[in-house]
């Protein structure tokens, strides 16, 4: 999806001479999508910048207040904390998801029948809503009513969501549970595009399975890895549903990421100005990350939205 590949050389062929009547109907065709997208996508994006310079409680009048919201947000120790938590979730979920997805992707790319069957089951978490997943884990991890209590295993009976470090670990685990299937799917596709002949040649040269993986599979998957990593990193900024339902950002603010922080300030504390400022920061961090990853890989297969749900 090279950005802005001009609509294809082929499309230039229909003679431009055909007149304004033709381009007029094309203009009409694009109009409905354009209107809805501008009204509920572009305008809000500009609006959030505007609102970050106002004071608004979500109900009453909106009053311009200059840099008040920004000063409030930037001097609040909550912001560096939320940035740190966001970074932790991002880094840890990358560290967990990438090797496991890679392994599983390579595994299910094999053509044995039972692997295809396994793959069917692997992908089930992708279909579930974040709310359902979070509620399942919340019930399952409950120290008094959950699985640990039922099995009577003290190790499992901890207050998983009540202790700061454990809760963060649980968030990373559940996020990985939800998204590893998606990334495995990406790696599966990548692996299947590696020419078989490369492995046959390596085999003739006596390279073992591990050697083949590091000498062929991994280098051949370079762009797949970069693309999947970009989706994980940029997407991790937008984990909201799962964290919100699972921990509500707690205990205290141990799992309050930028997105959760924004929601809490805006819709719970009714401080829409500061919440908008955080939203702007969220957009900027996302853009910076996407650009950075693009520089790393020279590839731009990024669709941050894929991950957003």
């Amino acid at each position: 999806m090279t950005a802005l590949a001009p609509p294809g050389a082929r499309t230039a062929i229909p003679s431009p001479v055909a007149g304004s009547g033709r381009s007029a109907s094309f203009a009409w065709m694009a109009l409905p999508a354009l209107i809805v997208f501008v009204a509920f996508g572009v305008v809000p994006l500009l609006g959030v910048v505007g609102l970050s310079f106002t004071t608004w409680d979500g109900l009453g009048a909106i009053t311009p207040s200059g840099l008040t919201s920004w000063t409030a947000v930037l001097t609040d120790p909550g912001l560096p904390h939320a940035l740190w938590v966001t970074f932790l979730v991002m880094a840890l979920s990358w560290l967990v998801q990438t090797p496991i997805s890679l392994l599983i992707g390579v595994f299910v790319a094999g053509h044995q029948r039972y692997r295809a069957l396994l793959a069917v089951l692997f992908f089930v978490p992708l279909l579930l809503s974040s709310a359902a997943i979070a509620i399942t884990y919340k019930a399952l991890l409950d120290p008094n009513f959950g699985l640990g209590a039922g099995l009577g295993i003290p190790l499992l009976q901890q207050d998983w969501l009540g202790q700061a470090n454990l809760a963060l670990g649980v968030v990373v685990f559940v996020v990985s549970w939800q998204f590893i299937p998606f990334h495995s799917l990406i790696y599966q596709g990548g692996v299947r595009q590696i020419p078989r002949s490369m492995y046959e040649a390596a085999e003739l040269d006596g390279a073992g399975r591990v050697r083949q993986f590091f000498a062929i599979t991994l280098p051949q998957l370079k762009y797949t890895i970069i693309a999947s990593s970009t989706l994980i990193l940029v997407g991790s900024l937008t984990y909201f549903d799962l964290i919100f339902v699972l921990t509500g950002g707690g205990p205290a603010d141990a799992t309050t990421t930028l997105a959760v922080d924004m929601y809490k300030r805006g819709f719970q504390a009714n401080l829409m100005g500061p919440a908008s400022a955080i939203a702007v920061i969220l957009v900027l961090v996302g853009l910076a990350l996407a650009l950075l990853m693009r520089r790393v890989g020279g590839s731009d297969s990024t669709a941050s939205q894929l991950e957003g749900t």
Binding site: T11, A12, L185, F244
Partner: protein, 273 residues
């Protein structure tokens, strides 16, 4: 497949991961058939000795049919226009030229980078000003908007591959641009339309944030939001919560069983092009 040596590590990871995926799913399923009293006394992994549908009855009595209907309305109401509008826009972007359509395309590509989470406050403001707060339409409109960028991208990539000769010969037969859109591009784009429909359908069906901030009254809840508040209400009744999760997930699992191929290709939509 003539690889002499088996992939031990991959195999281990594969089977282990299978367990990791299945344990919570199995547990929630088994638990949903237990009585609350039985739940505390029995091994959590054993199926109910005396299976009961009481938990499901409780969930259904808690207005879940209504929430299900709401989710259907929101999903269909958003996906149909989103796919239709995106298809028309993709066709225009590919077949038409000119500065206007190029900037429209650029705008949609830029839209891929806008996270929904970052713009919910202005969306909320717009919905209030339109006096649509606490209606299903409030969820539908932004859902359409955020489905458009990726859908246009995927559909445009597909339409671009339709041979130009087909359009030329239709034009010689006197077909208009609208005629080519409906009678030529639409049937040929069907696989991509299915992909886009599935992807958007799943995203919107599972959506939580928009219903959370744009509705208020219980009557307007969609399933994910209803699950959340049901869980808040019955936090100690684990079997009832389990039943609510199973019941709301079932329709999608059935769809998965029926149309797995389309679902999976839909999930990686836009990727790898």
């Amino acid at each position: 497949m003539t690889r002499a040596r088996p992939n031990w590590l991959g195999g281990l990871a594969g089977w282990l991961w299978l367990a990791v995926v299945l344990v919570p799913i199995y547990w929630i399923f088994v638990t949903s058939f237990k009585q609350q009293s039985e739940y505390f006394r029995t091994n959590p992994f054993l199926p109910a000795a005396d299976p009961t549908f009481a938990n499901y009855a409780l969930v259904i009595a808690s207005n879940f049919p209504r929430y299900f209907a709401n989710s259907v309305v929101v999903t269909v109401g958003a996906v149909v226009p989103a796919v239709l509008f995106s298809f028309m826009a993709a066709f225009a972007v590919v077949r038409g030229g000119g500065r206007y359509l190029r900037s429209v395309n650029a705008l949609f590509l830029m839209g891929l980078a806008i996270p929904l989470q970052a713009v919910v406050i202005p969306v909320y403001l717009i919905i209030i000003r339109l006096r649509m707060y606490d209606t299903l339409l409030a969820i539908i409109l932004p859902s359409i908007a955020f489905a458009i960028p990726l859908s246009v991208l995927v559909l445009a990539n597909f339409i671009r591959d339709i041979p130009n000769e087909l359009f030329e010969s239709m034009r010689l037969d006197g077909a208009s641009d609208w005629g080519m859109l409906w009678r030529l591009a639409l049937p040929l784009t069907r696989p991509a339309l299915v992909t886009v429909t599935v992807y958007n359908g799943l995203t919107i069906w599972n959506g939580f944030l928009l219903p959370l901030i744009l509705t208020q009254s219980p009557d307007q809840r969609t399933l994910p939001l209803a699950l959340w508040s049901f869980q808040g209400q019955y936090s100690i009744n684990v079997p009832a919560i389990a039943a609510s999760v199973v019941l709301t997930t079932l329709p999608i699992l059935v769809l998965y069983a029926v149309g797995r191929r389309q679902l999976l290709s839909g999930l990686t939509a836009g990727f790898g092009k």
